[in-house]
Amino acid sequence: MDNAELMRHANDVRKGILTAVHGAKAGHPGGSLSAADLFTYLYFEEMNIDPKNPDKEDRDRFVLSKGHTAPGLYAALAYRGYFPVEDLPTLRHLGSYLQGHPCLQHVPGVDMSSGSLGQGISAAVGMALGARMSGQHFRVYTLLGDGELQEGQVWEAAMFAGHRKLDNLVVIVDNNGLQIDGNIDDVCSPNPIDKKFEAFRFHVIDLKDGNDMQQIRDAFSQAAAVRGKPTAIIAHTLKGKGVSFMEGKAQWHGKAPNDEEYEAAMAELERIGEA
């Protein structure tokens, strides 16, 4: 799939995120939008998956360690054909299968329940280890927030993955620089992120613009060729990317747009889509 087509899908995913969060009147648009291009690339280009057969054994796996950005994952899954796009506004509603955080048992295409930060990466590492132990050849991807790197468990998992040389594992950090309480460097800085993963024996890829499809493609191509160590892609992204009034603003971490804001955001994405 060429970049232009992927960008159109990413634009749809962004609309799906806003529709889901608006429908829920709650949720996390900022970090979903920053990672929308990553979700899109993974589900529309990178991973060996089959929406008609979500549980096929040799599929690549994805664990959303930053589980609060479920709207981004759900939008990608819906537009990829795992479940109807029309269901996105039921996010977080009583009785909906679209739980506030990813739920393995209820959402088609979700490979692991997640949401308590720091835990998803461990499960992803376990999957990568399991693939190796059972002689399966699938790859495992996991997306972390940069704020999430403050969780100690992330580094337990990184130490293990580096030690075991799990080269079927790709850890992606959505480095948008913001967390609920503000700038990550003001709250409790996880920087330098690249040096840390290097120290834990990862091959580190600095993805300068994690919202640029060609750069994303280059990063994942490079990751695919790495042997003998796990890969960490540090994706520098813009929180709220695609909706001008949300971009770079920590207050849009966990707040839903009202009707007016929703209309404005959707109109903006329509214009991008037509351009």
Binding site: Q105, M112, Q153
Partner: protein, 314 residues
Amino acid sequence: MMSDGKKIATREAYGNALAEFGETQPRLVVLDADLAAATKTGVFQKKFPDRHIDCGIAEANMMGIAAGLSLTGMIPVASTFAMFAAGRAFEQVRNSIGYPHLNVKIGATHAGITVGEDGATHQCNEDIALMRTIPGMTILNPSDAVEARACVKAALEMTGPVYMRFGRAAVPVINDGPDYRFRIGKGQILKEGTDVTIVATGLLVSSALEAAQKLEAEGICAEVINICTIKPLDVDLIVQSARKTKRVVTAEEHSVIGGLGGAVCEALSENEPVPVYRIGIRDVFGESGSASALLKKYRLDADGVLEQVREFVK
């Protein structure tokens, strides 16, 4: 009932069982957190080095690794001390194993006060209470080496998360009779009685049996029930016995809050309200000492059970 005074630690039976079932179950993977010698999974490690994963001293990550492994079709058994399995990694067990209801087995050794000399930091008297609150978690607390092996076998045969609790100290073998049967969710009446029911679990089962025999001489006829599966609890068996004896004592090497005592009180208060006395660690931290000295001090040995039952039925 009791055989020739043979004593084996349940952790030892656990390690041996893993090594035994590793032969027939190629998907069995044993995880440890730098305690393979103590948890006795070292026996498995020696036999199946490729299927033993030492995660280092990182229990939270170990539970997540186990979760991930189970999603690739392996059957992971995550092993460490009860304090770290149920305590330190509680939230990982809840969210990464319990919530997605994954096929992960947790082998928690060094549970309870009989950890001994290490003292309070390592004496986990809260793990049953913690694990009981997780929906869908099966909890097994074997009373001896025979039952420990049976627990491992049954846990590996079922699908879903299981918390298995083992002890450090050698305990009498009591289940080596020909009529011993183990089924998850089923308790066993080891001695019939009419005056009081002693519902016991883990190493307190042998204490309760011995106490019941001595009580007989004093004219108190106690019924003794072994509850190995704390969750799901064999409510029917306990209620039927309570209906007969009208008085129930629970006995466990665990806090009186939230463990077997809590579970039995919950079941009886809803089904057959009778007076209950809970033998266990009475809401205090433990301390250093030999296992036998601690059992005596905290009134968990046969004499301690005897005295407390006698006081209760007086």
